[in-house]
C-alpha cells in the first residue's frame, strides 16, 4: 500500500472515532468539541476574515523575524568560522544561548520594545539566529580542503576564493540551518503571540480560549500544525534533498 493511502486511512479513522465519540457523548463538547464543530468554527473564521488577518499578521512577523535571523546567522557563522578568537569567545556564548528557548526573552523584550509587534519579532529573531549561526559555522569549516586546493591552483585567492568556492560549498549546511531556524522561529512566534498581543494565530488561540471557544482553539491548533508541516516537508525538505543530491552528499 502507498504511504499516502495509509496516511489517509489513518486520519479518516481518527476523525471518525472522534466524531462518533462526540455524538455518543463519551466526553463533553467543552472538553473536546466534535470535528464538525471545529470545522464550523474554521469556516466562520475564514468567512469573517479574522483567520485570514491572523495568518497574514503572523506570516509578516515570521518573514521579518526569520529574514533578520538568517542574515545575522550568516554573518556570525562566517565570523566564527574565520576567526579563532571570535569562536573561542563569542562562540561559546552562542552555544549557551542556543540551548535557551527564545521565548524566555519575551519579558525583557516587552520591557525594551513595549507590548507590541517588535517584542514578538525580537523573540522570533533570537529563535532562528543561533541555530543558523552554528550551521553556517560548521558548513564553512567543513569545506573540503580539496576544493580549496583545486581553486588555488586555478588562481583563486582571498575574497574570490571565499565567494566562489567556500561559500557555495557550504550551502547544504546553510539550507539545513535555514530549515532548523524556520522551525525554531515558528515555535517562538506562536509562543510570543500567545503571550503578547494580536492580531495573529497565537493571539486568536488565547482569545478563543479566554472566551471558552474550544472549537476555534482546536481549529487554530490544526492550522498551526498544518502550516508547520507543509513548510517543512513541501519546501525545506525538498530543497534540502535536491541540494544534497546536487552537492554529491547523497545519491
Amino acid at each position: 500500500m502507498q504511504p499516502a493511502v495509509k496516511r489517509i486511512i489513518f486520519f479518516a479513522a481518527i476523525i471518525a472515532f472522534w466524531e462518533i465519540g462526540s455524538r455518543l457523548e463519551l466526553w463533553m463538547p467543552i472538553i473536546l468539541p466534535s470535528p464538525t464543530m471545529v470545522w464550523d468554527a474554521l469556516v466562520t473564521g475564514f468567512e469573517d476574515k479574522t483567520l485570514i488577518y491572523d495568518l497574514a499578521a503572523s506570516f509578516k512577523r515570521l518573514a521579518i523575524g526569520l529574514g533578520i535571523s538568517l542574515v545575522i546567522g550568516m554573518g556570525l557563522g562566517v565570523l566564527l568560522a574565520k576567526s579563532k578568537t571570535a569562536d573561542e569567545t563569542l562562540g561559546t556564548v552562542i552555544l549557551a544561548l542556543q540551548s535557551v528557548p527564545s521565548i524566555v526573552w519575551l519579558p525583557l523584550a516587552i520591557m525594551w520594545f513595549g507590548m507590541n509587534e517588535k517584542a514578538v519579532i525580537f523573540v522570533v529573531v533570537l529563535g532562528g539566529a543561533f541555530v543558523m549561526t552554528l550551521n553556517v559555522r560548521v558548513g564553512i569549516k567543513n569545506v573540503s580542503p580539496l576544493y580549496i586546493k583545486a581553486a588555488q591552483t586555478m588562481g583563486a585567492r582571498g575574497w574570490d576564493l571565499f565567494a566562489r568556492v567556500i561559500f557555495p560549498a557550504s550551502i547544504p549546511y546553510m539550507v539545513t540551518g535555514a530549515r532548523l531556524a524556520w522551525a525554531f522561529a515558528w515555535r517562538a512566534l506562536m509562543a510570543g503571540e500567545l503571550l503578547s498581543t494580536g492580531p495573529g494565530l497565537g493571539y486568536t488561540l488565547r482569545y478563543a480560549s479566554d472566551f471558552g471557544n474550544m472549537s476555534l482553539v482546536i481549529g487554530v491548533m490544526i492550522i498551526i500544525g498544518v502550516i508547520g508541516s507543509i513548510v517543512d516537508q513541501l519546501i525545506f525538505q525538498r530543497v534540502e534533498k535536491s541540494v544534497l543530491q546536487r552537492w554529491g552528499l547523497e545519491s
Binding site: 580539496l146 576544493y147 586546493k149 583545486a150 581553486a151 588555488q152 591552483t153 586555478m154 588562481g155 583563486a156 574570490d160 566562489r164 568556492v165 557555495p168 560549498a169 550551502i171 543530491q245 546536487r246 552537492w247 554529491g248 545519491s251
Partner: protein, 262 residues
Amino acid sequence: MFITINQVQKQYSDKNNQPVDILKDINLTVQKGEFVSILGPSGCGKSTLLSIVAGLTKATSGEILVNNIKITKPGKDRGMVFQQAALFPWLNVMENVTFPLKKEMSKKQAEEQAKKHLQMVQLGNYTGHYPHELSGGMQQRVAIARALAMNPDTLLMDEPFGALDEQTRARLHGQLENIWTETKKTILFVTHSISESIKLSDRIVVMGTKPGTIIQDIKVDLPRPREKYKKEMLEIEDHIMGYLKREIDKVVSEELSNAASS
C-alpha cells in the same frame, strides 16, 4: 631547464613534535615538453613533492624554479589534476571548466576555450551536465579539461587515474598521450603503478621511502604508441621492480621491528 628542483627538503612534525624527514635532497630537472613520471611506494612523499611544485605546500628548504621563476605560491602556469576530480558540484561542466578563465577573458571567449578542451577529452556534448551526473572517468576528464583550459605550461597530475577501473584507465592513458602530443605540455605525473609510468613517460623518476629520495632516473626510449613493445616494456618493468622491491622490503622490515619493539 624548464623545471629545476634544487635540494628540496620537507619535514613534518610527528606526534611528539619531533621533525620527520619526508623528502630529502630532492634534485630533479625536467625539460620543456617532457613527460616525467614520479614513481614510488605509497607514503614516500610523491604527493608532497608535487604539491610543493604546485605551490600549495612550502618546502622546508631548497627551491624550485619553473621557467626561471622561483615558486612561492600556486599559479595558473601550473595546472593540477588530483586523484579525486575535485569538480565543484554546484557548477555544471561548462561552468567548472570556465572557472579559472572568468577574470581574464569574456564569457564568450571562455566558453569557446572550454568547449575546445572538452572536445579534446571527448565530452563536448556534456557541457550542461552536473558532476554528480557523470561517471568517475568522465569527471576526471572534465578535471583534465579544466586544467588544460587555463593553458598552463606545466600539468601536474597526482595519481589522476588511481581511482578508476582498469578499462577506463587504459582509455584515458590513450587520451592523455594524444593531448600531450597535441599540446606539448610539460607533464609531471605521479603514480605508484610501474606499468602506467612505462606506458606514458619519457622518463621515470623512482623514489625510495623513509625519507623520500630519488633513487633512480630511467629513460624510456620506446616509440609511441607503445602497445607493440610489450616485451621491452616488461624488461623495464622487471628492472624497476628490482629497485622498488628493496624499498618495499625496507618498509616491511621497519614495520616488523617497530611492532617487535612496541
